[in-house]
């Protein structure tokens, strides 16, 4: 048995201290320890972006990140994107209005990538949006509506 360690995280604004194994991946800690299953496991090898979360505001692939490596970090997952009163973030709203969601498996990662992009570039071009989503695969939508939805959030 591996020794467990307590890590301190702020996840979606809440302070948590899960006990994790040294080799535990962040994706599993989020999904299994914290029951935040909105973060998806799809490839486990860093090639699809489905497990993307924001760590201190930067997107990371939680399937490649050890939980102990982000000790002390502030983490945003899809569950924390809506406003505290439960109302939709403009990106979520745009995804709904534009029909950017089909099976929805890529959606959490896409929305978090969009949040990151819009934080750095409030009115990105379509080209910039596509470039930013390069590492996030979607098999259903052909990206078309996802790009439009994110574009519509620009000012």
């Amino acid at each position: 048995m591996m020794t467990k360690r307590r890590v301190t995280l702020t996840v979606n604004g809440e302070h948590v201290e899960p006990l994790v194994e040294a080799n535990a991946l962040l994706v599993n800690v989020l999904r299994e320890e914290l029951q935040l299953t909105g973060t998806k496991y799809c490839c486990g090898t860093g090639q699809c972006g489905g497990c993307t979360v924001l760590v201190n505001g930067e997107p990371i692939l939680s399937c490649l990140t050890l939980a102990v490596a982000v000790d002390g970090a502030d983490i945003l997952t899809i569950e924390g994107v809506a406003k505290p009163d439960g109302s939709l973030d403009p990106i979520q709203e745009a995804f709904l209005d534009h029909g950017a969601v089909q099976c929805g498996f890529c959606t959490p990662g896409m929305i978090l990538m969009a949040k990151d992009l819009l934080a750095h570039d409030p009115s990105p071009s379509e080209e910039r949006i596509r470039e930013h989503l390069r590492g996030n695969l979607c098999r259903c939508t052909g990206y078309h509506r996802i790009v439009k939805a994110i574009g519509s959030c620009g000012q």
Partner: protein, 766 residues
């Protein structure tokens, strides 16, 4: 927005309606198969064969069983009925079409990655460790990995005593020899298309448990909850002792049509009496689950100087891999579709599907259509080139039209708008782009397709739906469908809302539970909207009749005059004469009038076709469409950029324009990936592309926007005249891409994917 014919004014049908299921998805709240836990759940793992062809001499599970935390280790000897067949709840027995496979390997290993043993343990780490403690002694055998080789006499035999050739079909129309004599130009070519993966983002996954009545309940990512029957047969229990629940799927594309984790879970639950979960790794999914069939296709096509097709001869060989699964069905689709959407007087098609020691192939979006579409559409362009016609001209001269017969004798009685889709798609490409460097060449290509929707008519397909109206006027639909993410459940909500005059938010749809929702068949074969849409419409209409009749009494008007809308029933001529729906419902309830209806929709049932000539009806109807592309090719490097994509389909009637266009967007890219980059590369049965680092699918930067054009002929056999789009929308893209590249470089690549290397080779660069 679709082009509208003159048609009845719908309130909800044909509008862009945000889907109810999308809400939970943007919050991350949807509980997919892998997101569900049951207290005390064990974790399962599958031991898979390291050899593609071998004899299993012995399996020793003793050490694994002794490992603390291991609850069960199962091998073939623990499976009551290990040889089984996929049957998909069909109502009609069609012997030769049974997709035989083994649950766990015994005797001969038939592909690398075949399941040999199952483990259930208290954690994933323990289950993983236990796999390493199972000792399997194999005698490696030579195997056969090429389908053409596998069908030769004396080839290595994949199974024990069956032939490698699983089945073959013929289509005979006219006299093909005579036909070629009438031709001024004949082109002949062999085309090869690769094995490809579905690459849904959600891997195969499920959780199962024994409920308090001893029913094995399986909640898994499946396109077919009616596999409960097959699983019960494997266990040797009665069919009503297995229940399957399908949560929302993270994509299916045919890859969750065959059983994935379900039987393994059922066996482990049965043995341990504890809940068990199993999720494949991506590598496991790519290496060992079903794929799209690779084909070798020899085509010969003749046309007159005027460009009229006179004869087509095709020989198709498909690689089924290690087990039969759905190969005979897929091959039949290819055989019927081999002549494309064209009217050809003399036709000869011969097709075979063959066992090899490659990963097995089965259903994949398009089900045998994309392969032959690529070959047929390449031939059309080659003929056009030799005749000095444009690709559009030659197609226009040969498209099948309403009232024409396919080579199988089937007359197309419904709308056929292929020509219009081609005109519009090409037109929408707009002004040609200019090359941006001296080594770039611009090219354009189109491809048309005729793809079936609805299952094969000899299966006598049925679907059921239950529609009920509650005391407050809200509506529930219950239908045993599987929502693969294309808006399947949402489309039923729209249909019920349209018929019953309520807003969509008043409708709740319950789906995907083989014990509680009326059985509705598979979410495959682009049948969902057609079958369950019609069943829902039928049930909702029956409820409507009862309500309208009661309202007519209350309002003292003729029922014929009444309309429904805005949660009211009102006189169409005098809308002030109205009664609230809720009041009518209560009045019906007081009188004991049923407030629900269960309807069954039956597809037209036909007998099996004639296997010597291929004559007969195989499909209920077809969807016609054309995709057009513009590409730029760098002739120094072979690199291709897709500049424009247009997808134009006759959708019959869009139920939800957002969902229908979404299918066209996604379908075009699914097909483009096939044309441009996707390939499961195997070396003697060993997958060399087991992750998304090697198995590449289109990303956001590989593709431009997809321009969609929807024609609404109203001529489909689905509800409100709808046609199916799920599979048809992906079929021509690879062919259109290959044709565009060929136009750009003046040479043809005959194998998919059309990679830079192949382009340079076609250009004679190496």
């Amino acid at each position: 927005m679709p082009e509208n014919r003159t048609r009845p004014a719908y309130r909800i049908i044909g509008k862009a309606a945000p889907r109810p299921d999308a809400w939970a998805k943007v919050f991350g709240d949807t509980a997919y198969a892998h997101d569900y836990t049951v207290p005390g759940m064990l974790c399962a793992k599958v031991l898979r064969s390291r050899h593609p062809a071998a004899r299993v001499l012995s399996i020793d599970t003793g050490d694994a069983e002794k490992l603390p935390g291991v609850d069960a280790v199962l091998t073939a000897k623990d499976v009551p009925n290990n040889e089984t067949a996929t049957r998909f709840g069909q109502t009609h027995q069609v012997g030769g079409f049974e997709g035989l496979y083994r649950v766990l390997a015994e005797k001969k290993i038939r592909f690398k990655g075949e399941a040999v043993a199952l483990v259930a343990a208290t954690s994933e780490a323990v289950a993983e460790e236990a796999l390493g403690l199972i000792h399997v002694e194999y005698e490696p055998l030579e195997g056969v990995f090429d389908p053409v080789e596998a069908k030769q006499a004396g080839a290595y035999q994949v199974g024990e005593d069956e032939s490698n050739v699983i089945c073959s079909y013929k289509v005979r129309k006219g006299d093909v020899e005579e036909g070629f004599k009438l031709a001024d130009v004949v082109v002949e070519q062999t085309y090869r298309v690769p094995m490809v993966d579905h690459a849904y983002l959600e891997p195969e996954s499920g959780v199962a448990w024994l409920d308090q009545d001893g029913v094995i309940t399986i909640r898994s990512a499946t396109q077919v909850i009616e596999h409960f029957r097959g699983i019960a047969d494997v266990l040797g229990v009665s069919h009503n002792r297995v229940r399957i629940i399908a949560p929302m799927l993270g994509g299916g594309f045919g890859g969750k049509e065959d059983i994935t984790v379900e039987t393994y879970l059922a066996l482990l639950v049965w043995k341990t009496r504890k809940p068990v979960s199993l999720t494949y790794t991506r590598e496991e999914s790519i290496r060992s689950h079903g794929k799209r069939h690779p084909y070798v296709m020899r085509y010969k096509t003749g046309a007159t100087k005027a460009g009229k097709l006179v004869a087509l001869e095709a020989e198709l060989t498909s690689d089924a891999g290690g087990y039969v699964y759905l190969s005979p069905w897929v091959l039949l689709y290819s055989t019927v579709g081999a002549t494309g959407p064209y009217d050809i007087p003399h036709v000869k098609v011969d097709s075979e599907t063959v066992l090899t020691n490659n990963t097995f192939s089965s259903a994949n979006r398009g089900f045998g259509a994309p392969q032959v579409c690529f070959a047929c559409e390449s031939q059309l362009d080659e003929l056009a080139k030799q005749l000095g016609l444009s690709p559009l001209e030659i197609r226009r001269k040969n498209y099948l039209r309403t009232g024409d017969a396919l080579a199988t004798g089937r007359v197309l009685e419904h709308s056929v708008e292929t020509e219009q889709t081609a005109d519009r798609a090409l037109e929408a490409l707009g002004e040609p782009s200019g090359p941006s460097s001296p080594t770039e060449r611009i090219g354009r290509g189109i491809a048309s397709s005729m793809t079936s929707y609805g299952r094969m008519t000899f299966l006598h397909d049925t679907s059921r739906a239950l529609v009920s109206i509650e005391m407050d006027g809200s509506v529930s639909v219950r239908c045993g469908l599987q929502d693969v993410g294309g808006g399947q459940a949402s489309s039923l909500a729209q249909i019920a809302a349209e018929v019953l005059g309520v807003p969509m938010e008043d409708v709740t749809v319950y789906v995907g539970d083989s014990a509680l929702t009326p059985l509705a068949g598979t979410t495959t074969a682009t049948r969902l909207l057609y079958m369950s849409g019609n069943a829902t419409k039928k049930a909702a209409t029956a409820v409507r009749h009862s309500l309208v009749k009661k309202a007519a009494d209350l309002l003292d008007v003729d029922p014929e005059e009444l309309a429904m809308g805005d949660r009211q029933i009102y006189s169409a001529g005098d809308p002030d004469r109205a009664v609230a729906l809720e009041r009518v419902v209560k009045a019906c309830a007081a009188d004991g009038i049923p407030l629900y209806d269960v309807a069954q929709f039956n597809a037209p049932a036909r007998e099996l076709i004639d296997f010597q000539t291929g004559q007969g009806q195989v499909f209920p109807d077809f969807t016609f469409g054309t995709q057009a592309m513009e590409v730029s090719v760098d002739i120094e490097t072979g690199a291709v950029k897709v500049l424009k994509i247009v997808s134009c389909y006759d959708v019959g009637q869009a139920i939800n324009t957002l969902s229908a266009e979404g299918q066209l967007h996604g379908g075009a890219l699914y097909g483009l990936g096939y044309g441009m980059m996707e390939e499961v590369v195997l070396d003697k049965g060993n997958t060399l592309t087991p992750s998304f680092a090697e198995y590449l699918i289109p990303s956001a930067v590989d593709v431009p926007d997809v321009k969609t054009i929807m024609i609404e002929s109203g001529g489909g056999v689905g509800p409100f005249g709808a046609k199916g789009l799920g599979e048809p929308s992906c079929v021509p893209a690879a062919a259109a891409f290959a044709n565009a590249v060929s136009d750009a470089i003046g040479a043809r690549v005959c194998d998919l994917p059309v990679t830079p290397e192949r382009i340079l080779k076609a250009l004679g660069r190496f």
